[in-house]
């Protein structure tokens, strides 16, 4: 099934992706950001906070934004 995935980690990315049917939010996160902690991110599905075990549906909009980012002094 197709999802609209927004990854605000790194350079930023927003596009449609194909995933297996019935994938959960936690499994999707682990697939896209392996080795990272979900607690370090703001995860929204269709603009709403969502539990990790929620099953994603076709056409869902999922955004993942780091909650801790290092700034700098230019």
């Amino acid at each position: 099934m197709k999802l609209f995935y927004i990854n605000n980690d790194g350079a930023g990315f927003a596009d449609n992706v194909e995933v297996e049917d019935g994938i959960s939010v936690a499994a999707f996160f682990a697939m896209k950001l392996p080795g990272r902690k979900a607690d370090d991110f703001l995860i929204r599905v269709n603009r709403l906070p969502t539990p990790a075990d929620q099953v994603l549906q076709a056409g869902d909009r999922i955004s993942i934004t780091p909650s801790k980012i290092e700034g700098a002094a230019s």
Partner: protein, 348 residues
């Protein structure tokens, strides 16, 4: 919540700004020019093949056919590229409904959203931010939409401290990563620029918030270790608040190497609040020294009373008998002529 008319008006405004302009289907120019020249060459090869075949030059004809086949294959690839480019849907920004959802989502994430039409600013306020025990207060994150999708985060976003806690000596810094209300986004820069380009305002604000709530000690305008300090009034060195002393005369901050204690009262004072005794050079609270007739500032330990006139003088002005210059000179004047010893009579 934003009133419906404001919401609709803003969504329409943003939709117009973020709508992309479709490119003409005749581009790219170079690919079309290349196809035209290849077509001309293919026409030439086809005529030469006909000539070679008519003259029964089979070998030449075979070579030319091979060359034409290769050229037509390349032309086919070029045509496929042009077709893909022609069929591609140009990227478009969010439509009005999407902008409405975006703005409502912004309210859900950050609470009150303020719109200032004259400044073309969308504003949210963060919670009070504290980093490593240093309270920095709440910040207003202001997004200026006038630049549209091409505005970069550093130009479109301002971060203003609402209850600023600035480091000593840096009125332009309100956060380790904010100078003159401009956030240095660091690792968030590219994602922030992309979010603005895509019209994902919530993502943009969240990214800014994520930078504000994190501290990078390796690249800060002012380190948090030095945030609550001050500057020594005498040497200018930055000192932590717990290491600072205060001059008891003017209350300025002093480091542990500066400042002197008054020889008289033992109070800690800065250089401007003490003066040296002109006799012993020890420093005393300014104004505590007596000024002599000659204009000398002398401490009480360096004064003595002349036994002659009972007046107080600096010790270094008294003679060995403890008399002042006046009394010394008077005593010399009153002395009788010194007695001459009678010459011993010599018998005749």
């Amino acid at each position: 919540m934003l009133p419906i008319p404001t919401l609709l008006r803003l969504a329409r405004r943003l939709e117009i700004l973020w709508a992309s302009k479709p490119e003409p289907p005749t581009r790219p120019e170079r690919a079309w020019a290349s196809l035209r020249s290849q077509l001309t060459e293919a026409e030439s090869l086809r005529w030469r093949i006909e000539q070679a075949t008519a003259r029964r030059l089979d070998c030449a004809a075979a070579c030319l056919k091979q060359e034409l086949s290769t050229l037509l294959k390349v032309m086919g690839q070029r045509i496929d590229e042009l077709r893909d480019h022609c069929d591609a849907t140009p990227p478009r920004g969010p439509d009005r409904c999407e902008w409405i959802r975006e703005l409502r989502h912004l309210e859900t994430e950050f609470g009150t959203v303020t719109v200032r039409w004259t400044d073309t600013v969308i504003r949210i306020v963060t919670e009070p931010i504290e980093l490593k025990g240093v309270s920095l207060g709440p910040f207003a994150i202001e997004f200026n939409w006038s630049g549209g999708p091409s505005a970069t985060g550093s130009r479109a976003v301002e971060v203003k401290a609402l209850k600023p806690n600035r480091p000593a000596g840096r009125q332009d810094v309100t956060h380790p990563h904010v100078e003159d209300d401009i956030l240095c986004a660091g690792e968030a820069k590219d994602a922030l620029d992309q979010a603005i380009a895509d019209g994902r305002l919530v993502d943009a604000f969240q990214l800014v918030h994520s930078v504000l709530t994190n501290y990078n000690p390796h690249s800060a305008y002012v380190s948090l270790n030095e945030w609550d300090g001050s500057h020594c009034a005498q040497c200018g060195r930055r000192i932590r608040s717990e290491e600072a002393s205060s001059c008891e005369g003017c209350d300025c901050d002093l480091c542990d190497e500066c400042g002197e204690r008054c020889e008289g009262c033992d109070e800690l004072r800065c250089g401007d609040c003490t003066e040296p005794c002109d006799v012993c050079r020890a420093r005393h609270c300014r104004g505590s020294l007596d000024t002599t007739a000659r204009g000398r500032a002398v401490c009480s330990d360096c004064r003595d009373v002349c036994p002659g006139c009972q007046a107080s003088f600096p010790k270094d002005e008294l003679d060995s008998d403890g008399r002042c210059p006046n009394c010394s000179s008077v005593e010399e004047t009153d002395d009788p002529a010194p007695e001459t010893e009678a010459a011993e009579a010599i018998p005749l």
